[in-house]
């Protein structure tokens, strides 16, 4: 009960903190990245034939005009950019938590709310709520841009405005939100463990993005083992080397493990910042 109270108080406090220009900048960046990925995916779609995937399979940037013309085409621009979205969410979550250490505000916070787990839960809840809102806005932007570019390229968008199209939008949004949550939890926990913005970004970005992809190049199994790759697979609704179910299961395991590590780190460690 006390923990719930702490979560509610933390939620309110974090909401007040979010009311600042950098929040709008972050949300704008998310929208801009989504628009960019949508423009790239729709405008670069191969009109001839699928490069690597069957017609209905999600494939990130590797999309054909035939695939875009199906009901799921409406969400491809949005889900195809989930890697960018994940990177941005990871950065934002990691930077904001490590700033609490470097600015010393964590001690100010814990003096007012010593139930540290409650504070963290409330904080994550606010940030994920903001991500959900930002992603909804980005999805709307993506659909608008995708429609405009599809019209320019002469792609038939008739199937987009169907029940299947709405379902694709819903599942696309849900998957990207889930992947973003996993990236956000990873960024937060890495920040809690390392406590330094520079170190967290260096380790996190280097591992989750270039290193994992380099290893993936020589070992396909990495796709359903490494956290960044499985989070990305969830965002795209599953890929060839990692089915949606596998990716989701592995991602959940990572998220739960990270949450446990973060909880222990936060509650057991002295606050000396």
């Amino acid at each position: 009960m006390n923990l719930v109270l702490a979560v509610r108080r933390s939620f309110r406090a974090e909401l007040i903190k979010l009311w600042r220009p950098s929040t709008v900048v972050g949300m704008g960046l998310l929208g801009a990245l989504t628009v960019l990925s949508t423009v790239l995916i729709v405008s670069l779609a191969d009109p001839a034939r699928p490069r690597t995937r069957p017609v209905e399979g999600p494939a990130g940037f590797a999309v054909t005009t035939d695939q875009l013309a199906t009901a799921t085409g409406i969400a491809r621009g949005f889900t195809g950019g989930s890697t960018f979205t994940g990177l941005l969410i990871f950065l934002v979550f990691a930077i904001t938590i490590t700033l609490e250490y470097s600015q010393g505000t964590l001690r100010t916070v814990f003096l007012r709310e010593p139930r540290r787990l409650g504070w963290l839960a409330g904080r994550l809840a606010v940030m994920l709520t903001l991500v959900a809102v930002a992603l909804a806005a980005a999805l709307a932007l993506s659909v608008g841009v995708a429609y405009a570019v599809a019209r320019i390229r002469g792609i038939d968008t008739g199937a987009w405005w169907s029940a299947d199209g709405a379902a694709a939008l819903g599942s696309g949004y849900g998957n990207v939100l889930l992947a973003s949550t996993f990236f956000g939890v990873a960024g937060t926990v890495l920040g809690l463990v390392l406590r330094s913005t520079a170190l967290t970004l260096a380790v996190g970005v280097a591992w989750l993005f270039p290193l994992e992809h380099i290893v993936q190049g020589s070992w396909r199994g990495a796709t359903h083992v490494f956290p960044g790759l499985v989070f990305d697979a969830v965002g795209q609704g599953g890929i060839a080397d990692a089915s949606y179910g596998t990716a989701l299961t592995v991602s959940l395991a990572y998220a739960l493990g990270a949450a446990a590590l973060g909880a222990v780190t936060l509650t057991r460690r002295d606050v000396t910042a």
Binding site: N2, L5, R9, S10, R12, A13, E14, L15, I16, K17, W19, R20, P21, S22, Q103, G104, T105, L106, R107, T108, V109, F110, L111, R112, E113, P114, R115, W119, R268, D270, V271, T272
Partner: protein, 361 residues
């Protein structure tokens, strides 16, 4: 009578207030980082309503001790209570505690008002309460006109005042301030001193010149860590001195100041009376140093009997008069807290530290 030597009685025999009047009472507080012991079995007792000064050299363990009291750092040993709640359950007492630890830690991109509003929400104040309280606090710390400016545009003094305002949000029973005058200019230091004095009591119908008892009745205790001993001497009625993570003194400030030898310049009317006066003091078993036109006598004071020193001075005067020596000057020179502090720290530093196993509890 001889001058006080060896361990000072004030260290060993400070009066411990009855438990129901104690704001902080911890025993054997210890903090170790690996093999290094930062705080060694510290016993701290602070009466309710006291303005307590917490002093010691750099690295003496002051900030670590305060962090342990505030639940930010987990003690390696020790037990006790803060505001009647167990030290190991900061959740129980922190809602009644306000604190500023080291430099002010605020969100630079937010305004002063929004910083306070966020902390008020975290403290559980509802929207209406929070709004009223934030305005009152901004007014109290003199930032009402700058409340909407971002904190990054504030001077250090303004940030310090805002951080103290944040500590006051919940009208705490215990206020802990760690080096609140750090980095401030002389005017800022004076403003801070006045602010701390005003914080020692909560506003009430009889708020002018509160006594320690009156403060205790209203329940606010202030613990201030500072390097500025002159400030501490002016503000604090209770003193804790630490050195090397150990207690060097704890008790009322005036008791520490009273438990010392006062040097008194005794000047006879005629220079030829200097030698007989020195002999007279030697006969009274008082240490004395002869000068050309005066004798400097060391008169020991008794912290439990503030009038003993003046009685002794009167006895010296009578004895001199009975021998036909007229004293035209009797000027006492009391040591400052700084003098006493140096002695305490040197004494504590000279004592053997023992092993970590001996000091931990």
């Amino acid at each position: 009578m001889t001058t006080t030597t060896g361990r000072r009685p004030a260290v060993a025999a400070h009066p411990i207030p009855p438990p129901e009047r104690v704001a902080i009472d911890v025993r054997g507080l210890t903090k170790r980082y690996g093999r290094r012991t930062v705080v060694r079995g510290l016993d701290i007792t602070i009466p309710e309503g006291a303005v307590a000064g917490f002093v010691g050299p750099n690295g003496a363990g002051k900030t670590t001790t305060l962090r342990m009291l505030l639940g930010l750092v987990r003690p390696s040993g020790g037990q006790g209570s803060v505001l009647g709640e167990p030290l190991r359950s900061p959740v129980a007492y922190l809602p009644r505690v306000g604190a500023l630890i080291e430099s002010p830690a605020l969100y630079p991109a937010l305004s002063g008002r929004r910083n306070l509003a966020a902390l008020a929400a975290l403290a559980g104040l509802d929207r209406g309460q929070a709004s009223a309280r934030v305005e009152a606090i901004l007014d109290q710390v003199g930032l009402a006109g700058r409340g909407d400016d971002r904190v990054r545009s504030y001077s250090l003094g303004m940030k310090q005042r805002l951080a103290i305002g944040a500590a006051l949000l919940t009208d705490p029973d215990l206020l802990i301030l760690d080096e609140p005058t750090n980095g401030l200019d002389p005017i800022g230091i004076r403003q801070m001193r006045e602010l701390i004095r005003s914080l020692a009591t909560r506003p009430g119908p009889d708020a002018a010149e509160p006594t320690a008892d009156a403060r205790a009745d209203r329940g606010r205790t202030v613990l201030v860590s500072s390097h500025l001993l002159a400030e501490v001497e002016q503000i604090c009625d209770w003193l804790i001195v630490v050195e090397g993570g150990r207690l060097a003194y704890q008790g009322p400030t005036d008791r520490l100041m009273a438990s010392q030898t006062v040097e008194v310049v005794l000047r006879p009317e005629h220079d030829e009376d200097v030698a007989p006066l020195a002999d007279l003091l030697a006969g009274l078993d008082l240490p004395a140093v002869r000068r050309a036109d005066a004798v400097v006598a060391g008169l020991a004071t008794d912290p439990d009997d503030p009038r003993a020193y003046t009685r002794l001075l009167a006895a010296v005067n009578r004895a001199a008069a009975s021998r036909g020596i007229t004293l035209i000057e009797m000027t006492p020179h009391r040591h400052s807290l700084e003098d006493r502090y140096e002695g305490l720290v040197a004494q504590a530093a000279a004592e053997p530290r023992g092993t970590d196993q001996e000091t931990s509890r």
